[in-house]
């Protein structure tokens, strides 16, 4: 395993640690629920505490139309075999007592979609736990080693040229969130990806006050409280394609104003840190798993804003593909060929915030 920087130093260390599978289409629910099921057993499997906390997540509905959409999503999720519940205002009041239920609330909570198995996990621990387990299985993890080019012989990928020498093999997997298009260019093809900055921020730590994950597609904000007590806050993408890991002010303003509207008591909180990660967004907001146009090079990319929750599934499916040369049933719909076939899996809504 070759890593340009250091282990867990990319988007694994920059996300907001939410794991969930509240998607709409059958293909997506199979994929993300596979990941969630694997997360549920991961601490035991890796013998490393990833601090999975299945505290539940509420996707709020603020209008009657959003309530109807919530009912549709709940029905789809239940039919697809994952847990989902349609919440009323009273249910929201039960899980979010500090929410702004006032008569003049900008974002009244009519209810929403509840997934009780959603939760958070310690993001660094997931990277460290996997690395330790992989190392014990004999995997060499080479850090500070950048892939600079590919060795192509007879139309197949036969090796990679790195900053520390050439490595030859008969199969390569590419999982480089934020730089998929750059590596693809070196391999001689393009991808249906645009890279954007996705911001997040954390507040100063306070006593426990929020014990679920709350998402408001209407306000463009989501939040949870970390075990250290910080509010971990995120929102939608910056709408300007970017590789600069900073983020812009208008989006941060939307996110924070939505948060303080929903939780007036948070107005007193001070933000400690704000950052951005670069996410590879695909037109249908679904990932790309499959062999690339360069035979011998396999893709696991395009997870957009939802890579962390999918790590276990992405790993298993890429490994299955590389070991057998065949798609797993769950990864087949996510092949790169879906764009020419017109069989897109449009999860723009399922990805939570409109991207």
């Amino acid at each position: 395993m070759i890593e340009k920087g250091w282990l867990g130093g990319g988007n694994t260390g920059r996300n907001t640690t939410v794991v969930r599978s509240n998607y709409f289409f059958p293909e997506s629910v199979r994929l993300y629920d596979m990941a969630l099921r694997l997360y549920e057993g991961l601490s035991a499997e890796l013998n490393y505490n990833i601090m999975l906390s299945q505290r539940g997540m509420i996707s709020l509905a603020h209008t009657p139309a959003e309530m109807e959409m919530s009912a549709r999503v709940v029905n789809a999720m239940q039919i697809n075999g994952t847990d989902a519940e349609l919440f009323s205002t009273e249910d929201v009041r039960r899980v979010l007592p500090i929410y702004n239920f006032g008569p003049k609330a900008r974002y009244p909570a009519l209810g929403g979609v509840w997934q009780g198995r959603s939760g958070t996990a310690r993001h660094d621990a997931v990277a460290w736990g996997y690395a330790r387990a992989a190392s014990a299985l004999g995997v060499d993890i080479i850090q500070q080693c950048e892939v600079q080019d590919f060795v192509v012989e007879g139309g197949r990928c036969r090796g990679v040229i790195t900053s520390r020498g050439t490595i030859r093999a008969d199969r390569f997997g590419m999982a480089v969130a934020g730089h998929s298009s750059q590596l693809a260019e070196k391999a001689g093809f393009r991808l249906p990806i645009t890279s954007y900055a996705l911001q997040a921020c954390v507040s100063e730590p306070v006593k426990p006050v929020l014990d679920t994950i709350v998402l408001s597609p209407g306000a463009g904000t989501y939040a949870s409280q970390s075990d250290k007590g910080e509010m971990v806050v995120g929102g939608g993408l910056d709408r300007i394609p970017s590789y600069g890991q900073r983020g812009n002010l208008p989006v941060l303003e939307t996110v924070v104003s939505g948060l303080v509207e929903m939780f007036p008591s948070f107005r007193q909180l001070k933000l400690m840190r704000q950052w951005a990660g670069i996410v590879d967004v695909v037109p249908d907001s679904s990932p790309i798993i499959g062999e690339s146009p360069l035979p011998g090079l396999y893709l696991n990319c395009g997870w957009g804003t939802g890579g962390f929750k999918s790590i276990p599934a992405g790993g298993v499916l890429l490994a299955h593909l590389m070991a057998t040369g065949q798609h797993h049933d769950i990864s087949r719909p996510f092949d790169l060929d879906r764009f020419a076939r017109g069989r897109l899996i449009d999860e723009a809504a399922g990805s939570g915030i409109a991207h």
């Binding site: 393009r190 990806i193 645009t194 300007i240 970017s242 900073r246």
Partner: protein, 87 residues
């Protein structure tokens, strides 16, 4: 707040602009003659460059499309240019 420059309206805040894709991504002509691969290449596949980028943008308030050269790492943007001719 970043300021982009519309060739018709002048400098305006970034919120008024919408990204329109790669400059020079022309719609393939010839209806039935266009293969599914060619069509999906036009519709979905992108250059997505790191660094210097030549892009099409729309100024939402005046509705005009225009060309803009930008750097996707430093975020520096040159003033927008009118689309015309082969661009």
């Amino acid at each position: 707040m970043q300021i982009f420059s519309c060739p018709f309206c002048g400098p305006r805040p970034e919120c008024e602009f919408h990204f329109g894709g790669d400059l020079g991504n022309h719609r393939p002509e010839g209806f039935a003659a266009v293969s599914a691969t060619e069509w999906s290449n036009y519709l979905y596949f992108r250059n997505n460059p790191k660094g210097a980028a030549d892009e099409v943008w729309m100024h939402l308030t005046c509705g005009e499309m225009f060309a803009m050269a930008r750097d996707t790492v430093t975020m520096a943007a040159e003033p927008g240019r009118r689309l015309g001719g082969g661009a």
